[in-house]
């Protein structure tokens, strides 16, 4: 492994015991600030920032050395030096952390609440001693003033069958001058529910953070708990997990490609892609007993083994999809009216995706090649042959093309996995010796899902944090729409397809 300046700095802190597979260090104020500077200077990337009982953690990824590490700042007095003050991607996580734990980020430029809309019976629900709830205050949207400007409020209930969130547009005629998002409507208090649950029960909640990525969450959570408990998962389980992950990716990409085209008023793609998606979900139901494969990844392995009927169903669905897909790509590429809507719409710059550590198709359409399966490889991807497509245009069209290429890769990967599926058990009991802490990362269709789990001596979750890729994609949607016309917002939004529930938790 290459030398790692990140680990060098961190090693000046105090290493936490039994933290696997990546290390965690408790650092003081100087190191915390040095790490923040490293983020600003782009030596490493912020992969998450969350609270704990009297402490703040941040996960950092250094791509060059393929390392991930966690830094902890203990703050018994309830204050810590704000990272968001210097590094904007940390602003929303710090606002959320304040809502949940009441820890004060010193110097944070935006102190408005984020997840807490003033509707809960408690304040700081995850703190050791939550306070009583207060009256809801009106939310102060950022001012946008100038001649000819008007505001358009949208949501939280939207016109389509999608998740709830609020968008506040400031427009000059047709052109969007600014978009401000307000999220948190689907906050379900999942992280507090998980605390003190046995890991197998908490896994069911992890599977419901964002239903469209249930397999990715399952893998991230299971690997984190297995690392914490020191459990070795059998090879077959790893391969079956990857099989489900690729089916999930493929099904979602088909759904998205169809839906983006539909938002550009080209319904034919939606009809065809929707049928391919449906066939895959049916194959998943036949193979694993659930269309979305919820609760099929469990700590210790997978819930049920795959039999010949299941294999045949998957092969069938993929065969039909690979036969139909080239014609759909041609149709997509050759329809001028469709391309006219896609090309040059909703551009995100490469500098922004790098600064935000933005993953998935949003990052890869703007030149950031990060893919957890490749950069921080986990089994069985280290033994599989696949490409990570990257483009530089950064527009809606590029985000669709990344999905198209990834769908092709996933179809090939499913074939490889089925051809080489190792024999053996698919599960071991999820009992091990706690206490321990573990980190898991999995590449979902939308990007990298990070799970950090601390398990106590009884095998129960003490603290679990799950970070959706959307945290670092939502802010870029605001940038993408700027200067575009209001009517192109649905198209831009769909091309991002961020998760509300995954973000709101």
């Amino acid at each position: 492994m290459a030398t790692s300046p990140l680990l060098e700095i961190l090693s000046r802190g105090r290493p936490a015991e039994a933290h696997r597979p990546w290390p965690r260090f408790v650092v003081g104020g100087d190191l915390w600030i040095a790490l923040t500077n490293g983020l600003v200077e782009r030596h490493w990337t912020l992969a998450g920032l969350w609270g704990d009982d009297g402490a703040v953690h941040m996960a950092l990824i250094e791509e060059a050395s393929q390392s991930l590490a966690i830094a902890t700042y203990d703050c018994p007095d309830g204050r810590y030096p704000s990272v968001g003050k210097y590094h904007p991607p940390a602003i929303r996580p710090e606002r959320a952390l304040h809502d949940l734990f009441g820890l004060e980020p010193e110097g944070l430029p935006d102190t408005r609440p984020w997840l807490d809309h003033g509707r809960w019976p408690v304040r700081h629900p995850l703190a050791a001693e939550p306070a009583a709830g207060t009256e809801a205050q009106p939310y102060r949207f950022l001012p946008a003033e100038g001649e000819g400007l008007h505001q358009i409020p949208v949501g939280p209930v939207h016109a389509g069958i999608i998740e709830p969130g609020h968008f506040r547009f400031t427009a000059n005629g047709e052109t969007v001058v600014r978009l401000e998002e307000r999220l948190g409507y689907t906050h379900k208090g999942t992280e507090r529910l998980m605390a003190s649950m046995p890991v197998t029960e908490a896994a069911r909640l992890a599977a419901r953070i964002s239903g469209d990525s249930t397999v990715a969450y399952g893998i991230a959570f299971a690997s984190a708990t297995e690392a914490a408990l020191g459990i070795e998962v059998p090879a077959r389980a790893h391969w079956l997990r990857a099989l489900m992950a690729e089916i999930e990716r493929l099904a979602n990409h088909f759904g998205d490609i169809g839906a983006v085209c539909n938002d550009a008023a080209f319904a034919m793609m939606l009809a065809h892609c929707g049928a391919l998606r449906e066939r895959l979900l049916r194959a998943a139901a036949a193979a694993f007993g659930h269309r979305l494969m919820m609760d099929r990844v469990v700590p210790g392995g997978v819930a049920a083994d795959l039999d010949e009927t299941g294999i045949a169903a998957i092969r069938d669905a993929v065969r039909i999809a690979s036969a139909a897909f080239p014609r759909l790509i041609e149709l997509y590429d050759n329809t001028a009216s469709l391309q006219d809507r896609m090309i040059g719409t909703g551009i995100v710059s490469s500098a922004l995706v790098h600064r935000y550590g933005c993953g998935g198709f949003v990052g890869r359409a703007s030149g950031r090649g990060f893919d957890a399966r490749r950069t921080l490889p986990y089994p069985p991807y280290d033994a599989l042959d696949f490409e990570v497509p990257v483009l530089n245009q950064g527009d809606v069209g590029a985000r669709v093309w990344i999905r198209i290429r990834e769908a092709q890769q996933s179809m090939a990967l499913i074939g490889q996995i089925l051809d080489r599926l190792p024999d053996g058990p698919h599960h071991v009991p999820a009992t091990g010796s706690g206490p321990g802490e573990g980190v898991g990362i999995a590449e979902g269709f939308r990007g990298d899902v990070l799970a950090c789990v601390a398990v106590d001596g009884d095998g129960k979750v003490r603290r679990c944090h799950l970070r959706d890729p959307s945290w670092f994609q939502w802010p870029l949607l605001e940038a993408a729409i700027e200067g575009n016309i209001v009517a192109d917002f649905p198209l831009c939004n769909k091309s991002f397809n961020c998760s509300y529930s995954g973000h709101d938790l």
Partner: protein, 167 residues
């Protein structure tokens, strides 16, 4: 494109038979007769995500694909509650969504029906005990029909919606 359209003419459609009479009858039994008579043979539905994990939305969306082709039954999703006969609500109703759900319900003209879809919508499901959830749709607005499942499959959803129209 021409070839694909031609193919569409030659090959039989993917659309399958709807749910069986028994499946529908089981759910129809839950509803009072008068409600069903008033709705007749067509339904306009406004979907409201009241804090779901988005799994339910995926399956509601699937109703529109060629295999289920919801619209052949006279059921369609509308963009505004003011055009709706039915609110199809998913999720445990987070407290942050409670007011939006109430306002959507108030904006829906009478007579109206509420269908709660999914385990969360029934009683909060796994999120029942949370400080941030109301604990199911019935805790906020009156519910006429519940469709089980986590998430309900498109067939279960279809059976539930057809039950509303059965006489």
């Amino acid at each position: 494109m021409r070839k694909m359209l031609l193919n569409g003419l030659i090959h039989p459609p993917l659309t399958e038979a709807g749910p069986t009479a028994d499946e529908i009858a089981a759910l129809a039994a839950e509803l009072d007769h008068a409600a069903r008579r008033r709705l007749g043979r067509s339904l306009s539905i406004r979907e409201v995500d009241a804090g779901s994990c988005n799994g339910c939305e995926l399956e509601v969306n699937a109703l529109g694909n060629a295999f289920y082709d919801l619209e052949r039954f006279g059921i369609r999703f509308v963009a505004s509650p003011r055009h709706a006969d039915v609110l199809l609500v998913t999720g445990p109703v987070t407290l942050n969504m409670k007011e939006a759900l109430e306002r959507t319900w108030n904006a829906t003209p009478d007579p109206k029906w509420v269908v709660a879809a999914g385990a969360c919508a029934l009683d909060g499901g796994l999120f029942k005990e949370s400080y941030a959830c109301a604990g199911g749709v019935h805790a906020v607005i009156p519910v006429d029909l519940h469709i089980p499942g986590c998430p309900p499959t498109p067939m279960q959803l279809l059976a539930g919606l057809l039950a509303l129209m059965e006489r």
